[in-house]
């Protein structure tokens, strides 16, 4: 793999839970609890997991939209975790974000052209006619007509709005675009268009994606590597093909087994997991998944498994995989 563009080490984000008149801290939400991964130049890392597992918090922490509690974020080898707002500003150009909700992520009182051109204006990269020309080019790059620049967000459809968001993210020619469930709010037919646009743009410009989603099919289509998150931790990272063909973590297996099959006659498999995700306020000790795992042992309640290499860049955080040396110890 090429030199890592983004390197996240042991990222944690804890939110205090306060209650009572004195606002005393009664607990801590472990939204992100020790996450490490890297994204190479020109690579797409898919990040999947259930709602509330901390995917979006990871995305926002990487962009420093929320301040991480601890851990380190390195962009292009430089530690940006503790940079001041002013010092961070030049780095902002290198990373941009596309949000889930295309309705709330555009200022309703600005024209589409102003929205897309704003990053260029803010960084003093273009003004006047040049700004207009560059904005028009960005519109064409994402498949919109340049005469639509005068329109307001409410005059666009969901898919078009998401294209505006993508154009805004592209404006600064970033090296990393964080996509926080960019297609979850869209129609299936529109989803495919937007995903293919994202893939085409990556081919043309060679930037990296940190692509967050809960739809495995979408992630499989766009990602090079996939990381699976559960309750604030990454439980497995592997190359896309490897992960889908040979999932090692019981949670990943359950996740893959839960993908609906587009065949009404297909035999329904019994779900591999029961129950709900435990509360992140006081996550279970040891392995976070032991409360729902089919293979849980006594040790799983005590020892927290580390994310370890299991060959071929396939990393798993499961005690079953530790030191067994077996290719696939889980039946």
């Amino acid at each position: 793999m090429t030199e890592a563009l983004l390197e996240v080490t042991d990222l944690r984000k804890h939110y205090p839970v306060r209650a009572g008149v004195l606002r005393r801290q009664v607990g801590t939400v472990h939204a992100v609890d020790g996450v490490s991964f890297s994204v190479g130049a020109g690579e797409t890392l898919g990040l999947v997991g259930e709602s509330g597992c901390g995917k979006s918090t990871v995305a926002r922490s990487v962009l420093r939209l929320v301040e991480p509690t601890s851990g380190q974020i390195r962009l292009d080898g430089e530690d940006i975790t503790r940079l001041s707002k002013t010092a961070l500003r030049p780095h902002r150009r290198s990373m941009q974000i596309v949000f889930q909700d295309p309705f709330a992520s555009l200022n309703p009182r600005m024209t589409a052209g102003d929205i897309v051109g704003e990053p260029l204006a803010v960084h003093g990269l273009a003004s006047g006619k040049a700004l207009e020309a560059r904005t028009a080019r960005l519109f064409e790059q994402v498949g919109l007509r340049s005469d639509q620049m005068r329109n307001f967000p409410h005059q666009f459809s969901g898919g078009q709005r998401q294209r505006i968001c993508i154009a805004r993210a592209l404006a600064l020619e970033p090296r990393l675009i964080v996509c926080d469930e960019p297609v979850s709010a869209l129609d299936v037919s529109i989803q495919a268009q937007v995903i293919n646009l994202l893939i085409d743009l990556q081919r043309q410009h060679g930037f990296s994606y940190l692509f967050i989603a809960h739809d495995l099919a979408v992630v499989a289509h766009i990602s090079h590597r996939v990381a699976v998150m559960y309750l604030g931790r990454i439980v497995e990272i592997a190359h896309k093909d490897e992960l889908f063909r040979n999932p090692r973590h019981p949670y990943t297996q359950a996740l893959l087994a839960s993908v609906p099959v587009a065949n009404p006659l297909a035999k329904k498999l019994a779900p591999l997991v029961d129950g709900d995700v435990p509360s992140p306020v006081n996550p279970p000790p040891g392995c976070a998944f032991h409360t729902r795992c089919r293979f849980a042992m006594e040790r799983c309640k005590i020892d927290r498994p580390a994310l370890v290499e299991a060959g071929d860049g396939h990393q798993v955080a499961c005690l079953l995989n530790e030191g067994t040396g077996q290719k696939n110890p889980i039946p």
């Binding site: 926002r60 962009l63 939209l65 961070l88 500003r89 902002r92 150009r93 990373m95 941009q96 974000i97 949000f99 889930q100 909700d101 709330a104 992520s105 555009l106 200022n107 309703p108 009182r109 600005m110 704003e118 990053p119 803010v122 960084h123 968001c165 805004r168 404006a171 600064l172």
Partner: protein, 297 residues
């Protein structure tokens, strides 16, 4: 049962709402009371601007020979105890009322916006301090606070404007703050952060324009109450000093002494105040309905 005419229903729901002047006409048809309010307000502004041409006499000229004259063809609303033409004084009084109304709403409104934006956007201890000061100001009624202010500053037009503006600040800042708090969490603000905009620029470019609708509504609604407060202050002798015609003072001068012998001295300024406040409130209510989609029926 009659068949539903969808064309008519859609039109009534505003589906084909046109733009420009036709839109104004369209809205006027749907908000008859609001349109009436707008007409009253326009009349009011027009009167204030062209007072010199409309008034038939100088509002300050004293003529003892004509004192306490009944309404007649030459003096439509009669004359007061100094022989001044009441109609002319009411016309010129519109100027004072409008100056106080617009002046104090604009002053209180703009300070309120700055306070509300800073408070909501920065939060933390700044917010805490601003909000507790607001609590103290809001604990006192508008009139009492204005009364204290004018008593401290002394009666003059600018002082009255300031005195009425200050109690408005917490009202406006509360609304702006609440809006800012809600807007702050929206992704387009996060997007603005991620493109590297400064907090100040985000507040002005992204937050402020989105709080304008409630602000306009609040300002119009407050316009009526500021006019009323000025009248009350003048009535209590702390407003616009003599001899300038203020509706409130005209009322207070004559209420006790002449209400039986020369009722026109009480009735006409009273009507002027009621009409102006009524117009401002009608217009403000309609504006709220038009600008707030959730209120649309």
């Amino acid at each position: 049962m009659a068949a539903i005419d969808y064309e008519v229903e859609l039109r009534r729901a505003g589906a084909y709402a046109p733009g420009g002047w036709r839109r104004v006409l369209f809205l006027a048809q749907r908000h008859v009371l609001g349109a009436a309010g707008l007409v009253i307000m326009t009349l009011f502004v027009f009167t204030a601007i062209f007072a010199d041409f409309i008034a038939r006499y100088d509002p300050l000229t004293i003529d003892a020979a004509r004192a306490l004259g009944r309404p007649s063809l030459s003096h439509w609303m009669g004359t007061d105890s100094f022989g001044r033409d009441v109609f002319s004084r009411i016309i010129h009084g519109a100027r004072i009322s409008l100056a106080v109304g617009i002046g104090s709403t604009a002053l209180g409104g703009s300070i309120g916006v700055v306070v509300g934006l800073t408070s909501g956007y920065l939060s933390g201890w700044v917010d805490l301090v601003f909000q507790r000061v607001s609590d103290v100001l809001q604990a006192l009624p508008l009139l009492v606070l204005a009364l204290i202010m004018t008593a401290a500053l002394g009666p003059s037009l600018p002082n009255v404007i300031i005195a009425i503006a200050i109690p408005l600040i917490p009202t406006v800042s509360r609304v702006i703050r609440a809006n800012t708090l809600a807007l702050r969490e929206l992704p387009f603000i996060e997007a603005a952060k991620s493109i590297g905009m400064s907090e100040m620029r985000i507040a002005v470019r992204h937050v402020l324009p989105n709080t304008l609708a409630p602000l306009i509504v609040l300002a119009t609604a407050q316009l009526g109450s500021t006019i009323l407060t000025e009248a009350s202050l003048s009535f209590l002798g702390l407003g616009i000093p003599e001899p300038y015609p203020s509706w409130g003072r005209m009322l207070s001068e004559s209420a006790a002494e002449y209400v039986r012998t020369a009722p026109w001295l009480v009735i006409f300024p009273g009507i002027a105040i009621s009409l102006a406040v009524f117009g401002a409130n009608l217009f403000g209510d309609a504006l709220r309905d038009i600008l707030d989609p959730r209120q649309r029926g």
